[in-house]
């Protein structure tokens, strides 16, 4: 292995397979409830992959635990279903050791903002190259309606029968504060917008993260009506004149009360962890050009004679 090259995936390295379609990318039929927002995310992911045609074997889908995290089973690509909250460190291990792969991570608000909250900050701060889609439904749905870290105050759940009392996490503020280099927000109710965000995220060289409001029709119906024009709400897109490299300005949009803004909040280029490690390796190897691993280790042991 080597962490030396961090070039974006080049479709021309494809192993010569036929162009693949949605059908080729489809695996198990989702077990999500009818009407779940996650179907739209899956559909747009298929669409994105169909458009890009990166080599089939270079796609890797990773997830933690939750309804949304069943994602890898529904996609016919390399994929792994890891443990609750730790999909990002798992994906980090893949991304850094295998720069030839394109790593996608899918998960929910529990993974991202509760049990795995710290990993989000550190994947962001390290700027590990991957794309992370957080399907946020403001509720723990797989376990059948408990309060989630993004449930609004007053939300009645089985763990808060009289209404949630803990201040919810503001995902955009957290992601920006964590140092993510690509932060966007979209909604499953607006697939076209979602595809645009996913596409831009995939192009980003670094840690790209999208919060996608994805309604749970079973346990929190109507949660996102205020952001849905068809339900009398408003899907407010961040104005075109917003400078996406300006953190304070992005923060201003992030702090807007629900339903808030949609679109690309922030995008900057900062060296990725992948590149920085590759640089360290390059420097470490300058002095030992042409030496085999055996020679390198022998030299080390010789010092201990």
């Amino acid at each position: 292995m080597s962490a030396i090259e961090t070039k974006p995936v080049d479709p021309s390295t494809s192993s010569g397979q036929e162009k693949y379609t949605k059908k080729d990318l489809t695996a198990d039929h989702p077990t999500w409830c009818p009407g779940c927002g996650d179907f739209a995310v899956l559909a747009m992911y298929f669409k994105l992959l169909e458009e890009r045609q990166i080599p089939h074997e270079k796609i890797v889908g990773i997830a933690g635990i939750g309804c949304s995290s069943r994602f890898p089973y529904y996609v016919n690509s390399h994929g792994a279903h890891f443990i609750h909250g730790r999909a990002l460190p798992f994906a980090t291990g893949i991304s850094i050791s295998r720069p030839d792969l394109h790593v996608f991570v899918f998960g929910g608000d529990g993974d991202a903002f509760s049990i795995g909250g710290n990993h989000v900050d550190h994947a962001a701060r390290k700027n590990v190259k991957m794309t992370y889609v957080i399907m946020d439904n403001f509720v723990y749905a797989l376990t059948k309606k408990q309060t989630s870290p993004t449930s609004p105050l007053g939300f009645r759940s089985k763990t808060d029968p009289t209404g949630a009392v803990d201040c919810p996490i503001n995902p955009m503020v957290k992601l920006l504060a964590g140092g993510a280099t690509f932060v966007a927000r979209t909604s499953a109710k607006n697939p076209k917008h979602m595809l645009d965000m996913m596409s831009q995220a995939m192009n980003h060289n670094g840690f790209s993260v999208i919060e996608c409001l994805s309604e749970c029709v079973e346990f929190y119906e109507g949660a996102f009506d205020k952001a849905d024009p068809r339900k009398g709400g408003e899907f407010k897109e961040i104005p075109a004149d917003h400078d996406v490299t300006h953190l304070e300005s992005a923060m201003k949009y992030a702090y807007a009360p629900f339903p808030g803004w949609f679109g690309l909040f922030y995008k900057v280029n900062r060296p990725t962890k992948n590149e920085l490690e590759a640089e360290i390796n390059k420097k470490a190897q300058e002095k030992i050009v042409g030496q085999s691993p055996t020679q390198i280790l022998q030299a080390m042991l010789d010092k201990l004679k």
Binding site: I62, I94, N281
Partner: protein, 614 residues
């Protein structure tokens, strides 16, 4: 045992007409001071010198858990024959402070020599059990080096004194000192050598004997001198590991420090993560991606890693987890030794969670066990927990230079396209999953998912009772296959002799091997018929141990943990459960220190006495 043994008649010293030089086989030197005094450096010089002189050496140190300062000792056991343990008692004690003298004079054997710093220590010279050498170590060092260094350098001055008293090879020591300070200011090397020469030339008095080690037998090839954590890290590099992740914790940290600076040379990466869970998760990810990866920790960190370890068992992803055991539970005793993680290593985690557990028995074995851990993980597609401990991590030994041409491995993934529909978790006879890492093209077009949910042969989740039953059996079966393939441990008799007559068997694991073997030697000298075995694989145990046990009337399992609620240490409990043999008895202690040979002998003798009465 560790007494300075007379092997030849007294001879006239060549350089000091008034003193005698006695030839000795081995010596235990204990240096007691504070941790910032550089006593570890003296110890390391002595250990390395022994390594370069083809002598055997073993060290033992304690370090305070405080950030800087605090009492600390470094003990070096050097000898021209086999050195198995760091020695129960010191032959020679160096005390830098009054507290060093007071706390450690009891570790000096009767007839032993105390070398003390007259500027700080006032020993009870009336105590005629010991010989005394008083040297104004601090003052003489300041005098020798001068300047603003105060008594910095007194460790090197003391090394000079020791070199004088033990007739050490000054040329080799000077070379070691020069190498140690190479790259620093020239004046530092100069001062160090000056301190060394002043100590070497210091007139320590007319009454003193000096000593000379009998020359060691020629050894094939060179010796290397290092501690257990170094050996383990280099073993991992030789094994072909090119990815790791970890979080700093004592005494694991130096392994991650070495890998962090060494791996880039090999094109690999070591990532310092935000926490222990992230570390093991990165490693699961990297291993899934085809590069068998390593993480490790100590104490609390191991507890934190168990959930992801369970995932690797379930998903059948090979990873290596190093557990440098320390005192527990909770934060426990970070700089002390225990073998109290055997249970968590074997059983830690929820559900039926079979994984491989092995333990390294010496510094040299750390190197080779690391390679074996990696290969076992790969072969059986299973996590391997490798146990070492604080004493092994910090112990310095000299051993034969590994032959890298024989042990270097390239385990980088191959991405041969998969021709036929390959099911990762099919019900293979050997029970081992077949993984092809991402980047591998699956020609039939169906790609695998790797899952922590109970899954069918393709990796897709299932709640089928039948499949769960079969999959649990499959994950167990592969370790049963491993148990079949494991060699039985060799039986050690007194001084390496035959064991035909033996009727007492000591069973050990991990860092206690040397002390147990010395106990076997001593029990043999005392007229008993003892032998010992040392287990490298603890889960699964090798098949056929019962055949070994059958040869002995008594079996004692010796380990550094508590006797537990039912009177048996952790391995002993497992062996009793496995073999239902009441003759298997437990010898444990849990004071945070390594076994003294005497403690093992006494425990065995107590059992023997107790049974002769009944």
């Amino acid at each position: 045992m560790s007494t300075i043994s007379e092997v030849s008649t007294l001879t006239k010293s060549s350089n000091k007409s008034t003193s005698k030089t006695r030839t000795i086989k081995d010596a235990v030197i204990r240096l007691a001071g504070n941790s910032q005094d550089g006593i570890q450096a003296i110890g390391a010089f002595l250990a390395r010198l022994a390594g370069r002189s083809a002598q055997d050496v073993m060290t033992y140190m304690t370090i305070p858990a405080t950030i800087s300062g605090g009492p600390s000792i470094f003990q070096v056991h050097i000898g021209s024959g086999d050195i198995l343990s760091a020695g129960d008692e010191a032959d020679f004690l160096v005390a830098f402070y009054q507290h060093s003298y007071e706390n450690h004079i009891t570790s000096l054997r009767e007839g032993g020599i105390l070398l003390y710093d007259t500027d700080h220590v006032k020993p009870n010279l009336e105590d005629k059990r010991f010989h005394y050498i008083g040297v104004p170590i601090s003052g003489a060092t300041v005098e020798a080096i001068g300047g603003t260094g105060r008594d910095k350098g007194k460790n090197i001055f003391t090394l000079g004194l020791i070199a004088q008293i033990f007739s050490l090879d000054t040329e080799k020591l000077e070379k070691l000192i020069a190498e140690r300070f190479r790259g620093k200011d020239e004046s530092i090397v100069k001062n160090a050598l000056m301190a060394f020469h002043t100590g070497y030339g210091y007139h320590v008095g007319d009454v003193l004997e000096t000593f000379k080690f009998i020359p060691a037998k020629e050894r094939l090839g060179h010796q290397v001198t290092m501690d257990g954590n170094q050996a383990l890290a280099y073993g991992l590099l030789a094994a072909g590991v090119r990815f790791g992740a970890g979080y700093p914790i004592t005494p694991w940290s130096s392994i991650m420090e070495i890998l962090r600076s060494e791996l880039p040379k090999y094109g690999g990466t070591f990532v310092q993560t935000e926490d222990e869970i992230a570390a093991v998760s990165l490693v699961c990810g990297a291993s899934y991606a085809g590069n068998v990866a390593v993480t490790g920790s100590s104490g609390p960190g191991i507890s934190l890693k168990t959930e992801a370890l369970g995932w690797a068992v379930m998903a059948e992803i090979p990873i290596v987890i190093i557990d440098v055991q320390r005192g527990g539970p909770s934060t426990g005793m970070p700089t002390n030794v225990e073998q109290s993680d055997l249970n968590i290593a074997i059983f830690g985690g929820h559900g039926e969670c079979p994984r491989v557990v092995m333990a390294a028995s010496s510094v040299e074995d750390c190197f080779y066990s690391a390679i074996e851990a990696v290969n076992t993980a790969r072969k059986y597609s299973v996590p391997v927990v490798m146990l070492t401990d604080q004493s092994l991590a910090t112990r310095i030994e000299a051993f034969t230079m590994p032959d890298l041409s024989k042990c270097m491995q390239d385990i980088s993934p191959k991405f041969e396209p998969v021709e036929e529909n390959m099911l990762p978790y099919d019900d293979y006879e050997d029970g081992i999953a077949r993984h092809a890492p991402p980047g591998t093209r699956f020609l039939p077009g169906t790609y695998p998912t790797v899952s922590g949910l109970e899954h069918d042969s393709a990796g897709h989740p299932t709640g089928s009772p039948k499949i769960h039953q079969a999959m649990v059996a499959k994950r167990r079966r592969k370790l049963q296959k491993l148990a079949e393939a494991l060699p039985l441990p060799k039986i050690y008799g007194p001084h390496g002799s035959g064991v035909e007559q033996a009727n007492i068997l000591l069973v050990g694991w991990g860092s206690t091997e040397g002390a147990i073997r010395e106990a076997v030697d001593a029990l043999g000298d005392a007229g008993e018929a003892p032998a010992s075995i040392h287990l490298r694989f603890l889960n699964p145990l090798p098949n056929g141990l019962e055949k070994i046990f059958a040869k002995f009337a008594r079996v004692f399992v010796v380990e550094l943990n508590d006797e537990g609620l039912y009177g048996n240490g952790q391995l002993c409990t497992i062996l009793r459960a496995r073999y239902c043999d009441p003759k298997i008895r437990s010898i444990t202690k849990i004071d945070g220190l390594t076994f003294k040979v005497r403690e093992i002998i006494e425990a065995v003798q107590n059992y023997l006495k107790g049974s002769s009465k009944s």
